[in-house]
Amino acid sequence: MTLPVIGFAGMSHLGLISAVAAAEKGFDTICYDPDSQQIAKLARNELTIVEPDLCELLEKNQSRIKFSADLQELTSCELVYIAVDVPTDDQAQSNLEPINSLVSQVDSNLGSDAVMVILSQVPPGFTREHVRNARQIYCQVETLIFGQAIARALNPERTIVGCAEPNKPLPQAFAQFLDSFGCQILPMRYESAELAKISINMCLVASVSVANTLAELCENIGADWSEIVPALKLDRRIGQYAYLAPGLGISGGNLERDLATVCNLADQNGTDAGVVRAWVANSHHRRDWVLRTLHRETLSKVDDPVITVLGLAYKQDTNSTKNSPSIALLENLTPFQVRVFDPVVPASAAPNPRCHAAESEYEACDGADVLVVMTPWTQFKHLDLQEVAKRMRDRVILDPYGVFQAKDCRDAGLSYHTLGVPAE
């Protein structure tokens, strides 16, 4: 049986990852984006995003991937995913103009039997609003995680498909493509699929909010959240994969968007969304843990302190700084000397007029009063803390993600502060 050609419209993080995964599954893939410069870069294998294995898979599947800024290239596709980014404003409200426009453009360039699938993150009701003429249109839920995007795209836990008629079989090309991923397919009505994505994120936010609240209590009452987590994970009602790692609130943009969408829908329908708003407030509170701790330990005590910040990226294994806690912290440290190092993101991303771009983690620590680890890159775990301590002027470490071991810091004479544990 001939494999269908799969199109991807919108070379966003999601679009590129999904296209590479399709090619890896053996499908010829056409990647369209109106930005011809971006297309040219991708064609040269020049990536603007960082994901483990992405570069290698792109190179390996080059013969199956065609990048194009010409919309008409999609006419040969039997299945086209709409994968453009849906931007949000500072209130986490989606701007649907770009995706509306792209859907219309793609629709008018597809063959009559071609299937269109909305992969972008859209609010409930979006897909049904775009049902028109005879076009077969579906939506599919993506659960991309920065830093694990390729692994999850190749091995999804399940595929959630929003359909006009969930009881009808999927079109052959679509079914053939989804079957190649070897996971359960869950067809449901459009609105259910769109809300399923949001529901998944709400469950994750609930878990993280529990972890953040109780971790903060631990810091104040002498308990250690890391000792409690294994007990929770052995409870079947909670589960071993539960999101229980405390963090610096919700970031990245997508979860915030979903929280805003739920609040909007609840307001429109008279549903109590108080708990969702409480998650948002909790997230805002925890986001500034580093700033409050830094102020308490260093800024309020040391004249013109020198601050080392390790990590600028939103999370490890990505170069994205969108909604990065590190960048948000640095915006509040403009009066101070800051020494910055990130393995991928250039120091120029740091919004600080007194920023020194360090060549290495160790050089970043030279003369510092405090070391703050803002992105948990794996390579930071292997730092020689004795060497770090030797290079620092004062001996304070703020490590919200627990990259270092408390005992190792203590042995090196460092005052260690992390989430969920009372300060040493």
Partner: protein, 294 residues
Amino acid sequence: MIIHTNQEPTKPSRVLLLGATGFIGAVIQQQLESAAIPTVALGSADINLLEPSASDRLGELLSPDDSVVMLAALTPDKGRNIATLMKNLVMMQTVCEALEKSGCGHLVYFSSDAVYGTGVSQVTEDTPVAPEDLYGAMHYTREIMIRSLAAVPVIVFRPTGVYGRDDTHNSYGPNRFRKAAQADGKITLFGGGEETRDHIYVDDVAALTIRCLLQKSTGTLNVATGISTSFHEVAETISKQFGGGIEIIITPRANPITHRHYDPTNLIKAFPDFSFMPLVDGIALVHKESSMTA
């Protein structure tokens, strides 16, 4: 969120200080003088804001470039009734009328944390306002009144309990405890003094006022340290200043225990290098200053 109109601190051409003779106003006046900022310090003896002619007189004093610090208010020790509420609103009406006539470059309004409900244990500037008494309602009404003057850039201060040497109020906390220890050799607590509150040293309040004047800051700021301490701990700290011989009396509890903590994040973001006087040090300093003047 606090927005600094002046990115670089810039001295205001002149500051009009209304309520200059009060506990906080006097310290602000001292710090304005130390910073060599021209100041017109006014108390009720200079302009009685309750008099009908006061808005004209104040308007004549004001020039459009002035910064104004509005502290003048009848505090709860002067009365908690409706008459006091109405007087306080008339005072604010006077100020608003004068500002409408003459304009001003910037205004710092001293409100109170009484605008928040007593049952809220964790307070940020985003905590919904829910005053439970006339005093809290008065301050919130005054906030709305001053903010209704669209042309005036305003910052509203909502201070927690302020302590310092010359406090004339006798509210439950460090000042009353010290005076009671001094006079009677004992401190009487409500229940066991379990409630936690945030106490800020008056010089820190004044220093924040100056900073906001220099940067022409706007918004709402909870003026609090972010560290809450139980009244029992406060009593013990004061007792130590007297050599530990002060009797701390626990009484039967009449009301449920409530706590109040402030999230100081917005203050830190606005003034990241600002440091507060630790409560223990502040109490010691007040004790030392009081002993010297006694």
